[in-house]
């Protein structure tokens, strides 16, 4: 399988057109503090004319940042297009306003790059599995969304353990814990991703290949040789 990877910079001030945000992300936005400003008012609209305010229960939630009126925290609750808008009033009562367009998506997915791996039993129990996290088909999740937090289960012989670990952008590896190896017996583990979120709390959906089978083979038996 080949992927066409296009790296997007998300939730930053360098995008072209609307900025893309993953659903459920909780992000702090701010502008440079200006000593000539007496009030900042942040609002979110759903229309380009900046007249229809977003629903704070279903679409987005705004929280003030204590001591930082030039900042705002937004939890994006619903897919769609939004306009984060800042009104600034100067000490001279003159006003300015600026808005930034956002597109909230619930399309990100995570999968294992391979559904199976093998190893010979030894003392090194740790291993990692490649994951693939995409914003949508063919577009990788941007580095700004990392590290991802991934919840997974390790199951063998009817026993399941739960684990959580972070995935770094640089290696895209899910490091697996909870696996042990037996040189005398084959072991077959089933590892399944059960949940994942971005660094900002954005929701990542589970794709199709979320189960990986790890087979650890026993070593061939060797006994002592008698010499005379």
């Amino acid at each position: 399988m080949t992927f066409v990877i296009i790296i997007l910079s998300l939730a930053s001030a360098s995008g072209q057109g609307a900025y893309t945000v993953v659903l459920n992300s909780n992000i702090k936005y701010e502008v440079a503090a200006n000593a000539d400003v007496k009030t900042y008012v942040w609002k979110i609209y759903t229309d380009k004319d900046l007249s229809i305010e977003a629903n704070t229960s279903t679409e987005c939630e705004l929280s003030i940042v204590s001591g930082e009126p030039n900042a705002i925290k937004v939890k994006w609750l619903g897919d769609g297009e939004y306009y984060l808008t800042l009104y600034a009033t100067g000490l001279n009562d003159c006003t300015n306003k600026k808005a930034w367009k956002y597109t909230v998506v619930s399309t990100p997915t995570i999968i294992f790059n391979e559904i199976a791996s093998f190893d010979c039993a030894d003392d090194e129990y740790k291993f990692a599995i490649d994951i693939v996290a995409e914003l949508k088909a063919g577009i990788a999740l941007a580095d700004t969304q990392y590290p991802l937090t991934v919840d997974y289960q390790v199951t063998i012989g009817g026993t399941t353990t739960n684990h959580t670990t972070d995935v770094a952008y640089d290696d895209q590896l899910l490091n697996i814990e909870g696996v042990t190896e037996d040189i005398g017996n084959d072991k077959i583990y089933s590892i399944e991703i059960i949940g994942a979120t971005t660094k900002l709390g954005g929701e990542i959906n589970l794709g199709t290949n979320i189960t990986h089978t790890r087979t650890i083979y026993a070593l061939p038996p060797v006994s002592t040789i008698n010499h005379n």
């Binding site: 930053s12 057109g17 701010e30 200006n34 000539d36 380009k48 009033t89 100067g90 003159c94 300015n96």
Partner: protein, 300 residues
């Protein structure tokens, strides 16, 4: 027969009067005659004794406006024409005495009576003056508001940004917009076609952009003017006042102290070429206060 004198002038305030007319002004002179159907003659002289007959119909003299009678050898001859409208020449000498005469013949006795009124052409030549008539609330009438009215604003906040969205289909699409201020330029002591030469400057030489200039005369409407900080408004003879709307680009964080100067040498009575003779009323100022800067936006 009793001859009485009356005259009526233009009703514009602070402008030409029947006995102190401006160049190019029209005034009506009426003598009351108790008898009717009498031959009358109208003429103008420089001498109070009736000498010094003024040549009719020159730009430097006068003319009758739609007289009923006919003018021959500088005399208007008619019957029962006891009221005439005189248009004083566009280049009539200022600060000069003239006498408007009416002679009437009694058509039964043949006796003649005559009377004159003295006029003195206004001493002052063309003057243009300027007033800042900007009102942020938009409640005043810019044509009539007096200078110094409490509703006028010599300093205003910029108008709202034209494009507040910073990433609308591209990068840095935010546009701070523009603000419009309005000046009223009036002329005095002339009713001729006139030019308004202007120069807009900033008190501290800060850069600014004039996006649009719109000029409109009180009687003729819009006058084409180039969109630039310096230029000339070619005002029409019928316009006593011209409103000049100046639109400048908004600059967040920047105070603009703008001067709208009438350039004396280019503010002229086009017919007489008289330059604006009073430079003390040629400057109007306006401050555009700074809107706060919004920058450095980040999301983490």
């Amino acid at each position: 027969m009793v001859v009485l004198v009356s005259s009526t002038g233009l009703t514009k305030a602070q402008i030409s009067d029947w006995d102190a007319p401006w160049r190019g002004a029209e005034h009506t002179y009426t003598f009351t005659v108790t008898d009717n159907t009498n031959p009358v003659r109208w003429y103008v002289t420089t001498g109070s004794d009736g000498t010094g007959l003024v040549e009719y119909g020159l730009a430097t003299t006068y003319s009758f406006v739609t007289p009923t009678g006919t003018v021959t050898d500088d005399v208007l001859t008619g019957v029962d024409e006891y009221s005439v409208k005189i248009k004083w020449g566009a280049e009539v000498p200022v600060d000069t005495d003239y006498y408007v005469w009416m002679e009437v013949d009694d058509n039964s006795s043949g006796c003649t009576n005559k009377m004159a009124v003295k006029i003195h052409t206004v001493a002052t030549a063309f003057d243009a003056l300027i007033v800042n008539v900007t009102d942020a609330e938009g409640g005043v009438d810019p044509w009539t508001v007096l200078a110094g009215d409490a509703s006028l604003d010599g300093a205003t906040c910029p108008e709202d940004p034209e494009t507040p969205i910073n990433n609308d289909g591209g990068t840095d699409t935010y546009d701070a917009g523009q603000s419009t201020i309005v000046f009223r330029v009036e002329r005095q002591f002339s009713l001729n076609k006139w030019d308004i030469g202007f120069s807009i400057t900033e008190n501290n030489s800060k850069p600014f952009v004039v996006e649009k200039i719109v000029a409109t005369g009180d009687n003729t409407g819009d006058i084409t003017v180039a969109d630039a900080a310096t230029g000339t408004v070619n005002a029409n003879a019928a316009d006593n006042k011209v409103l000049v709307y100046v639109t400048v680009s908004n600059q967040p964080g920047v105070t603009l102290d703008l001067n709208f100067n009438l350039v004396k040498a280019q503010t002229i009575d086009v017919i007489t070429s008289a330059e604006d003779n009073n430079g003390t009323n040629n400057l109007a100022t306006h401050q555009i206060k700074p809107m706060p800067v919004i920058n450095g936006f980040t999301g983490s």
